[in-house]
Amino acid sequence: MSTTATHAPAHDDHHNAPTGIVRWLTTTNHKDIGTMYLLFALLMFFVGGAMALIIRLELFQPGLQYVQPEFFNQMTTMHALIMIFGAVMPAFVGLANWMIPLQIGAPDMALPRMNNFSFWILPFAFTLLLSTLFMPGGAPASGWTLYPPLVQQTGDALPFVILAIHLMGISSIMGAINVVVTIMNMRAPGMTLLKMPLFTWTWLITAYLLIAVMPVLAGAVTMLLTDQFFGTTFFHAAGGGDPVMYQHIFWFFGHPEVYIMILPAFGIISEIIPTFARKPLFGYDAMVYATASIAFLSFIVWAHHMFTVGMPLAGQLFFMFATMLIAVPTGVKVFNWTATMWRGAMSFETPMLFAIAFLFLFTIGGFSGLMLSIVPADYQYHDSYFVVAHFHYVLVPGAVFAIMAGVYYWLPKWTGHMYDETLGKIHFWLSVIGVNVTFFPQHFLGLAGMPRRIPDYATQFANFNMMSSIGAFIFGLSQLMFVYIIFKAIRGGAKATAEVWDSPKGLEWTVPSPAPHHTFDEAPQVK
């Protein structure tokens, strides 16, 4: 994306900068590393997406058509692991790498070599994970949550998944430490905490979440490993352990993890809506405090994933009310975004379209979450397609749309070229239609009792499943447009100005487009 040709003449301190593959292997530049993260995420988005299409292909009709049930379960498991750890998280880290130093006026990330280490671990981790597809016993088929005792029936894949997760964890923790240190230590003079752009703010809080919970996931899967291979009984009742204990430890990680995937999305949306409504963000401080309270609450709601496994009544009540409480700061956010648009001079370029779709569709996901948080209702919904609909609404038109909005919003800054607006709009409309056709019917399927993670179903579910599969193919195929649009903008297109948009706020718009290889060597003054 940013090529060596963009070096400002002032930078003569790396006349011998390596080119070709060596440049990417040894780079310490936040823009290079951000680019690698984003491209890696894009690749994984398609790998995980292919698996999703296999799932939807099998579910197009009742009965078993194309794949074996075992393989179907491997697909659901791998799809989730790849999308979460390979696509959504690395995409956000890529955006953080590119934009945080630009937004706070820093010359680079605080720990540049470690930054590159965080990235390069990932391709190897996913090589390990994907290699399990070709092993005796196949890939893990227990679902991404890896619950024992089911997961203990995995074949040769088990140690590979677990060690791959360890690698991803190491990568995430190092990446998160880098983000925290960069934001706490590298801000330009005058850039006080409460002047930071919201994308930076939400990432700061996300990074804290990551540092706090990735090690807990590491602990949980380590216990799985020793239970399997070294005779410990953490999760075996016979030895005094408890499989439910795994679920507690896992979800202590897992619930904050879902917020790790949505808080940076909130940040992106909070950048885009003010730009295209041509108004300052409504309630900036409230946004910051709402983000912080969501992060805090995310640590005390984990057992809402476990209402049906058996839990004392007091626990159920506590986790139900704590979960409902999250709707309050989330509501504050939705209100503020709406209020920002109120009487704004709005225009609807592609980033804004994705942002508005986010606003509506994420809210639907939030509402279904609220329904799920009601214990007696969850007894019905749990492990049904209703849950699948819920988390796909928050993750696809939520997290993924926000990533796409961010990519469209900042692509001109990265490449120096405007993307093709017409194609962008077509991509948007196909995506938004595809997503809703895919996931909205899944609410009905779930309410009618169709269980999740199953390759076959009763015939009364046939119509909605067919609809859902058609939507999935519309959505999946239209993402090819996204790739086309991105590479088209990399290779050429209308020249972007430094500001790109109509007077957007933030330091990133004060540097030329494309952003030179080194920016803010001299710290800017922020008033």
Partner: protein, 287 residues
Amino acid sequence: MAHAPGKYYVPHGSWWPIVGSIGLFVLMLGAANALNGSGFGWPAFVGLGIVLFMFFGWFRDVIRESVAGYYSAQVDRSFRQGMIWFIFSEVMFFAAFFGALFYARTLAVPWLGGEGVGFFTNLLLWDGFEAGWPTDGPANVGGEFTPIGPLGLPAINTAILLTSGVTLTIAHHALRDGKRATLLGFLGATWLLGFIFLGLQAYEYVELYRDYNLRLDTGIYGSTFFMLTGFHGFHVALGALMLVVVWLRCVKGHFTPKQHFAFEATAWYWHFVDVVWLGLYLFVYWF
């Protein structure tokens, strides 16, 4: 590597990250194969070697840059904050295992014994099992064993670690006051105490396996005991190694009374290991 004074030092190009990534990959590949019982486990050692090589080379670069004076106060702060958050992540890793211990002791085992919602579990599945701690579960996984109390070796080890915390602090003060002999003596004593701790811990493990029949697979008690003390011991080993390196660097005169981040980072790490031990001593050995 040109570097303008007064600016934040951004190193240009380093091979270590990719070397480390390959090392980790080979390590994990070998380890996974070994666990599956295939003969292709040896790459784990190769991978470990590469990772150690990476640490060595990477830190060598950092030390050279530091000695060359590239690091401003701001860079120093980055390292400090990075270390603090790294230690925090380690705390959370231990928290997972402490969490498992508390959950098993206060919930899982009593439920198996029939308390509260566990009434039918106990009646129908584990009739006759009485909850208590320590336990190897209703099926007596691992057979009869003798638990280990807080006195004797564990108490001595506690004293050793606490003492090492004190000697380390004395060494730090000596460094700040420029008293070289005291620094080297007390820092040397610190890592020596660390290794003595490890030796005693190893001896304790041998005793437990041989005479107490207390093993990693002795039900939930053995699981939590050995995983907690084992990971702690691993961290002591790392910390002691770090102390040796810092000691060697003191011998070489790398540190000034004002600038000695590596010393301080290692000291924080050592205190962290110390505090984890106190938690262990209280909740694993004592109560």
